[in-house]
């Protein structure tokens, strides 16, 4: 089984929230080395050469994202996105609570890589425990001289500020997150300008996921070639996969990208006794399902896209033959309807009415015309909104409606169906 321990090294074995333990295992050495020996541009180049892509969902090449920052004297900011709320994802939650110093070192390296003097971490409001743990870690790192002014006597200053969210999935979208960080409603902004040009306080800004930044530490330690040597052609390196649903050992498993879907299910203990697989949702609530015929696909960005879905944040939900897909579709559509910020009509209204229609199916009062409507509705929602939330409403619904139409047809109200 290809389970590895890179970011997850030591989690569950030693207390990595303790700075002494973390340093004993080589913690903050890469940070010290970067500030003392490397130029910002060298850190950026290493991130670029490693092939690291954003681990938060979009999979955008990290080095490339950084390189979009224009050369100017304006202050620039690094923001670590720890607003993990994609249904099925629970990796950042783990890293924050069990490896806060690794997360912090990743943030420091990322900030240095873009030449920033002020980094932020936006922590989901529900992660109160994680917020407290990270606050202690930051205090300890500051006391040890890793955060603050004139670091390692080089004259380089870097401050880190923790910002707690307050319950809003949409704040995981980077421009909504920036608005929330500015003390506003977490509503996504019109793009362009992109954060790289005008982000936090209108200044050049990079927003990176927790896991993305954390991988900078082993990439600096072992070299970008080490990271680029694993994975598939365009999906390099390792990834923490959050496996949940109908498996015997749900949990976070760190594997090389390109591990097959079948292997991932086996890693998580396989299906329950006597059950058969119906579907897998490979990339969180926003992704379409894949099925038996996709079991031998490598789990990477390209293969999942080719199968009509996406790798997303690595939330891997397994469904066996006990699953009521009508309820599942209702559940996810309700989620997106609830979390829509309401700025764009297709998303706000589309989500709400799809939820209403699906609720009817859950209660066994669906209309046969609903079925046709649901098959075509994406054209009135998808691609018509400021951000990707609206596009996330129906991929799951559409994929299960196509695959398991009998589950939906069985919920059509008979009198209406015959009328």
């Amino acid at each position: 089984m290809p389970v590895v321990k890179v970011l997850t090294d030591g989690i569950g074995e030693v207390d990595l929230t303790d700075i002494a333990t973390y340093r004993q295992r080589g913690g903050y050495l890469q940070w010290e080395r970067a500030v003392r020996e490397l130029k910002s541009s060298e850190v950026l180049e290493m991130a670029d050469r490693s092939g690291l892509r954003g681990r938060g969902g979009a999979g955008f090449p990290t080095g490339k994202k950084w390189s979009f920052l224009p050369a100017s004297d304006k202050p620039r900011y690094l923001v670590c996105n720890c607003d993990e709320a994609e249904p099925g994802t629970f990796k950042d939650h783990m890293l924050l609570e069990f490896a806060p110093h690794l997360v912090l070192e990743g943030i420091l390296l990322g900030a240095y890589g873009i030449g920033s003097h002020h980094a932020f971490i936006y922590i989901r409001g529900e992660f109160k425990r994680g917020y407290e743990i990270f606050s202690h870690a930051l205090d300890a790192a500051r006391a040890a001289g890793f955060v603050g002014k004139n670091l390692f006597g080089t004259g380089y200053d870097l401050e880190v500020t923790i910002h707690r969210g307050a319950g809003a999935y949409i704040c995981g979208e980077e421009t909504a997150l920036l608005n929330s960080l500015e003390g506003k409603r977490g509503e996504p902004r019109l793009k362009p300008p992109f954060p790289a040009i005008a982000g936090l306080y209108g200044m050049p800004t990079v927003v990176n996921n927790v896991e993305t930044l954390a991988y900078l530490v082993p990439i600096l330690r072992n070299g970008p070639e080490w990271f680029a040597a694993v994975g598939t052609e365009r999906s390099k390196g390792y990834k923490i996969i959050s496996i949940s649903g109908h498996v015997r050992k749900p949990g976070n498993y760190e594997v090389p990208l390109g591990t097959t879907v079948r292997e991932l299910i086996e890693i998580a203990g396989g299906l329950r006794e006597g059950r058969t697989l119906r579907a897998v949702q490979p990339g969180g609530g926003s992704s379409a399902c894949i099925f038996e015929e996709h079991l031998d696909l490598p789990y990477d960005y390209e293969s999942m896209a080719k199968a009509g879905s996406m790798l997303g944040s690595g939330a891997f939900v397994v469904f066996d033959d006990t699953t009521d897909f009508v309820k599942c579709a209702f559940n996810l559509v309700r989620f997106f309807a609830h979390e829509s910020c309401g700025q764009c009509t297709p998303c706000r209204e589309g989500g709400h009415w799809l939820e209403t229609v699906l609720h009817r199916f859950v209660e066994g009062r669906g209309l046969s015309s609903d079925l046709a409507m649901m098959r075509r509705v994406s054209s009135t929602i998808t691609g018509l909104n400021l951000c990707a939330l609206g596009d996330s409403i129906e991929p799951f619904l559409k994929s299960v409606l196509q695959r398991f139409p009998e589950q939906f047809e069985a919920r059509v109200l008979r009198e209406v169906a015959s009328a």
Binding site: T89, H246, A315, T322, F335, T356
Partner: protein, 253 residues
């Protein structure tokens, strides 16, 4: 003037230095809005109108702007909540592992529904979106502390301990005043939006937090149907590529 209105000024003065320290952490004062409201909610148990007004004054905003912002976030309660805020996950991974039964058990046991508070002010109950603990489904939070692997037995034990006052979790409010009993009227004039309703204000008992659908069938006809527009779908799929190109263009300019 109510007792809490009389008490608020001294709380505000006590917290003012902390608030000012928060403001100093950011380049622009308004960034301190969420942390300051968090701070007051920790002390009062909810984001009171007085706290929002105080925040507005401190940050140079209008009270309406502060309330508009606060109302966006589901973890800010604009009305008093129970001593124990029970937030049960209704996310997909929990749902396929029995969350519906768990939620029904809670509603039955507490005698209240989604977004409601018990008469004695002990419990507020809410069914929330994915809490990012799917490996330990079904899960919940009590006053924002995680509780995993829920079973009816575990719920019985937990509720009993809470009623006996022996359940170890930090209260939502640090200064847990005995007179802070539950009352709908207190902030009754606060508009009730769909989001951030706080934990009060839904009248239907045993509301499962889904939809009470009655208007859907009539409204269905108004749903605009169009043929699939592949171009639009493609736009969504290629959004990342386009984004990158646009950024590159902007930089070149």
């Amino acid at each position: 003037m109510s007792r809490r209105e009389l008490e608020f000024p001294s709380l505000a003065e006590r917290l003012r230095p902390q608030c000012e320290a928060i403001v100093a952490r950011y380049e622009e004062p308004r960034s301190a809005l969420l942390p300051i409201i968090h701070l007051f909610q920790e002390h009062e148990g909810y984001a009171s109108r007085e706290a929002m007004r105080f925040t507005a004054d401190l940050l140079g905003l209008t009270p309406a702007v502060v309330e508009s912002t606060v109302s966006f976030y589901t973890l800010f309660f604009r009305k008093p909540v129970g001593k124990y805020v029970l937030q049960v996950c209704r996310g997909l991974s929990c749902t396929i592992n029995g969350a519906e039964d768990i939620m029904a058990y809670f509603r039955e046991k507490l005698g209240i529904g989604h977004l409601q508070t018990t008469e004695d002010g002990l419990f507020s109950y809410e069914e929330v979106e994915c809490l990012a603990a799917c490996d330990r489904a079904t899960c919940m939070q009590v006053n924002l502390e995680f509780i995993y692997d829920l079973t009816p037995q575990a719920i019985d034990d937990m509720i009993a301990a809470m009623r006996a006052g022996s359940f170890s979790v930090a209260p939502m409010a640090q200064s847990d005043r005995p007179e802070r009993t539950w009352s709908v009227k207190q902030d009754g004039e606060v508009a009730q939006g769909k989001k951030s309703l706080g934990a009060l204000g839904v009248s239907a008992p045993n509301n499962p937090g889904g939809l009470g659908d009655s208007s859907g069938i009539i409204m269905l006809d108004r749903f605009v149907l169009r043929d699939d527009a592949p171009a639009m779908r493609a736009r969504s799929n290629e959004r990342l590529v386009q984004d990158a190109k646009l950024v590159a263009e902007v930089i070149e300019e």
